[in-house]
């Protein structure tokens, strides 16, 4: 089977993972900590890059998460952990899915469309998730320049309209605001957990762990810069600006002559984020495949079943995005650091012990 290459992993970390943080997260962060919105994001990227570092180190043995655990702890425990990670990814995937739905309905339609307008997305989801996780490698290759050009274009049209003084004074939201911003933004940071499910799908190359962490930090720097620009443009009203990356560029003065050419870049970013939305579901399917073994039609059946389940969920939660977001990002926020921050170093610790034992 084809494997994800080293380059493709870097592309994912530097270009694709950051895009999903540009839809609802900026407005939520502005709500939690106002002009300090960039500080929790900076913290999240810093700690998440450490988790990415650990997750990439786990790839040194070239084994999947299940195999790594089974070697060390036995198959039952391995199954439990892998399935828990899969369940977590399914849970984590709800927020980006609803974000994507609201984003499509809010930005590409000028009156509220029916939920059926978004329904074809689930066909795309079912198709993409029926493919092996390793096939994302080619997707990363294609999406990385798309996401890069999209973000660069949006930033190009936005930077001139920002009042950068708006982020001053630093720390105005106080310790409470910063803590709230940090805790409630965990829901957008689970890229290391996605990497855990990709273990065994790529070969570890020398220096890959730190290079991957640096790539993730580079993507994070772009997001943090975007947050500064975002707050510079909207100031105190930033909390009201959902779908952030579609909003910042529209004030470019040249558009009176050119028309909204920034939509081309917005389309590129939305394309990249559509694929990112499917990643947690693919990760969850991979976890089941790892736990119960590769069966011929299992991934296809699971992808259809999960896409249908997500469609039903989207239908049931159609007008309850606020509640869902509060439930996931504010009430169950601790699940995210547990799986995305603590699990990779814990596994590394466990497996370092294992290495000594086998040696």
């Amino acid at each position: 089977m084809n494997k994800i290459s080293e380059r493709q992993i870097y592309f994912f970390l530097a270009c694709i993972a950051p895009v999903a943080k540009l839809i609802v997260m900026p407005a939520r962060l502005a709500g939690y900590c106002g002009n300090d919105l960039w500080l929790p994001a900076l913290f999240q990227f810093a700690v998440q890059s450490l988790a990415v570092f650990c997750a990439l180190l786990l790839a040194k043995r070239g084994k999947s998460l299940y195999d790594l655990l089974a070697d060390r702890t036995g198959t039952i425990f391995a199954k439990i952990v892998v399935l828990l990670v899969g369940a977590f990814l399914l849970f984590a995937g709800i927020l980006p899915l609803l974000e994507q739905k609201l984003f499509v309905q809010g930005v590409f339609y000028d009156t509220l469309p029916s939920i059926l307008s978004f329904a074809p997305f689930f066909l795309f989801l079912a198709y993409l998730c029926s493919k092996p996780l390793a096939s994302y490698g080619r997707v990363f290759d294609l999406l990385a320049p798309i996401a890069l050009v999209g973000l660069a274009g949006v930033l190009l049209f936005s930077v001139g309209n920002a009042d950068y003084g708006a982020i001053l004074p630093v720390g105005a939201s106080g310790a409470r605001g910063l803590l709230k911003g940090t805790a409630y933004s965990f829901a957008w940071f689970y890229d290391s957990a996605l990497l855990l499910m990709m273990l065994g799908k790529f070969d570890y190359k020398k220096g890959m762990a730190w290079k991957g962490a640096v790539c993730y930090l580079a993507g994070g720097a772009a997001v943090v810069f975007f947050l500064v620009v975002f707050y510079g443009i909207f100031g105190g009203t930033a909390v009201n600006q959902f779908f952030a990356f579609t909003k910042t560029s529209k004030y470019f003065s040249g558009f009176t002559v050119l028309g909204r050419v920034d939509y081309l870049f917005i389309f590129l970013l939305s394309l990249a984020s559509s694929f990112y939305t499917a990643l947690p579901v693919s990760g969850a399917i991979e976890s089941i495949v790892q736990a119960f073994g590769q069966k011929k039609y299992l991934p296809t059946l699971l992808s259809v079943f999960l896409a249908a389940g997500y469609f039903l969920l989207t239908y049931l939660l159609d007008f309850r995005f606020g509640d869902v977001m509060r439930a996931i990002a504010e009430q169950a926020f601790y699940l995210f650091p547990a799986f995305a921050l603590l699990l990779p170093p814990l596994l590394l610790f466990l497996l370092i012990g294992g290495k000594h034992e086998t040696a």
Binding site: V104, F108, D110, P120, V139, P169, G236, N240, S270
Partner: protein
């Protein structure tokens, strides 16, 4: 079999590109096509206060048919009432069957009475509306907004289009008008200073127009279901005055010269003009370069430094002049000295008006907040009343 073989040779990239194209088309919403038979494309909205709540006058673009010779924009004005602005918009749908579409709304005019209340109490409808462009222009008008919106413009088919011309980039650079948008007004409102400004629009009858006559190119129709009809007399509009807002309420008005002073302080002016005197005779100067700023010095007693730097050329004398004088752009030292005093006077007037209105349109609180949170907390209450101005104007001649 052959087909299967062919499909195997098609690279994955092509599938993905095809998928991207399909997704692009899917997300494009038919590239924004609008069924104009079912939609009320609102060009401008006017909000007035009524006893029950609000009245909203919507200027709606209507198709002109196939008569290409006529051209221009045809519009109809409809006034609706309700307890909230949202009620008014819903009533518009109820009265016409058109789905109100605010995505092309480029102007919101507030009636003078409505502006004396906290305007966010009704502007919040537009801020909440995801389909409303928040960079639409915002203005206050003398009297009722309904009267302004339903008036017949002497210069354009629709009154809103004529008013928007007053807010063009060129007009703003002339220093004669201070424009503002919904977004920027809201940012100022929710900022520490809670102060902002809006252009103040007045209308006056165009001399020579025939009252009730059929004016060429006028496409405004009377309001259906609303109070008051259209003004049949052709009107021209001005927005040289600027309304000051504090905590969302209109608290004062800057006359034309103070509007120019505010523009100069923001460094906006290019090709704007103002008058000075030479030997008691009027001289018009054109600003060719302008920089300005307001800074706050908190060492000792708080001082606001208001600085305007202007380079100008002679534009016109109010007296006869020899050809040698006409061929020169240079400004004499006497005029420069007077121009400096004129600008200082304008800025001083601006300062006094703002102070009287307790309006922080010069953003002193914002400056203090950004530079020192501690000092801001100390001075928050008293800053506007205790700060002293230090005004300097430098006028240079173009060489």
């Amino acid at each position: 079999m052959k087909l299967h073989k062919f499909l195997k040779t098609v690279p994955m990239k092509l599938y993905l590109i095809l998928l991207a194209v399909i997704l692009f088309s899917f997300f494009s919403n038919d590239f924004g096509l609008v069924d104009i038979q079912k939609t009320a494309i609102i060009l401008a909205a006017g909000v007035d206060k009524t006893e029950e709540g609000f009245s909203l006058t919507s200027q709606i673009a209507v198709p002109k048919g196939s008569d290409r010779a006529q051209g221009g924009t045809s519009s109809v004005n409809i006034t609706t009432q309700g307890e909230t602005v949202s009620d008014c918009v819903t009533a518009l749908f109820g009265k016409t069957g058109w789905v109100p579409k605010l995505v092309f709304c480029d102007l919101i005019v507030l009636g003078e009475e409505a502006a004396k209340e906290d305007v966010i109490s009704y502007l919040n409808y537009f801020l909440r509306n995801e389909y409303m462009p928040d960079n639409c222009l915002l203005a206050v008008c003398e009297g009722k907004a309904e009267k302004l919106i339903t008036s017949t413009s002497a210069i354009d088919d629709a009154s809103s289009l004529a008013i928007e011309k007053l807010f063009s980039d060129a007009a703003e650079k002339s220093g004669k008008v201070m424009t503002n948008t919904l977004k920027d007004f809201a940012i100022d409102y929710y900022d520490v200073g809670k102060s902002s400004y809006l252009p103040y629009v007045k209308m006056s009858p165009q001399k020579g127009a025939i009252p009730g006559g059929d004016s060429v190119g006028s496409g405004s129709a009377g309001g259906s279901g609303g109070s008051g009809g259209s003004e049949s007399e052709e009107q021209i509009y001005t927005a040289e005055e600027t309304a000051l807002f504090a905590e969302g309420k209109m608290v004062g008005k800057l006359p034309a010269e103070q509007t120019l002073a505010l523009s100069l302080l923001e460094g906006n002016v290019l090709a704007g003009t103002f008058n000075a005197k030479e030997k008691g005779k009027p001289v018009t100067l054109t600003v060719v370069r302008n920089s300005g700023g307001v800074s706050l010095d908190m060492k000792g007693a708080p001082t606001a430094k208001l600085t305007v730097d202007v380079t100008c050329r002679l534009c016109c004398r109010g007296t006869t002049a020899p050809i040698e004088d006409i061929s020169s752009d240079a400004v004499s030292p006497e005029i420069l000295e007077d121009a400096k005093n004129v600008l200082k006077g304008y800025i001083e007037g601006l300062w006094n008006t703002c102070k009287e209105a307790k309006c922080d349109v010069l953003e002193l609180k914002r400056k203090l907040y950004r530079s020192s949170l501690k000092k801001y907390e100390e001075w928050e209450e008293f800053l506007l009343t205790s700060v002293r101005p230090d005004i300097s104007a430098d006028v240079k001649s173009m060489k």
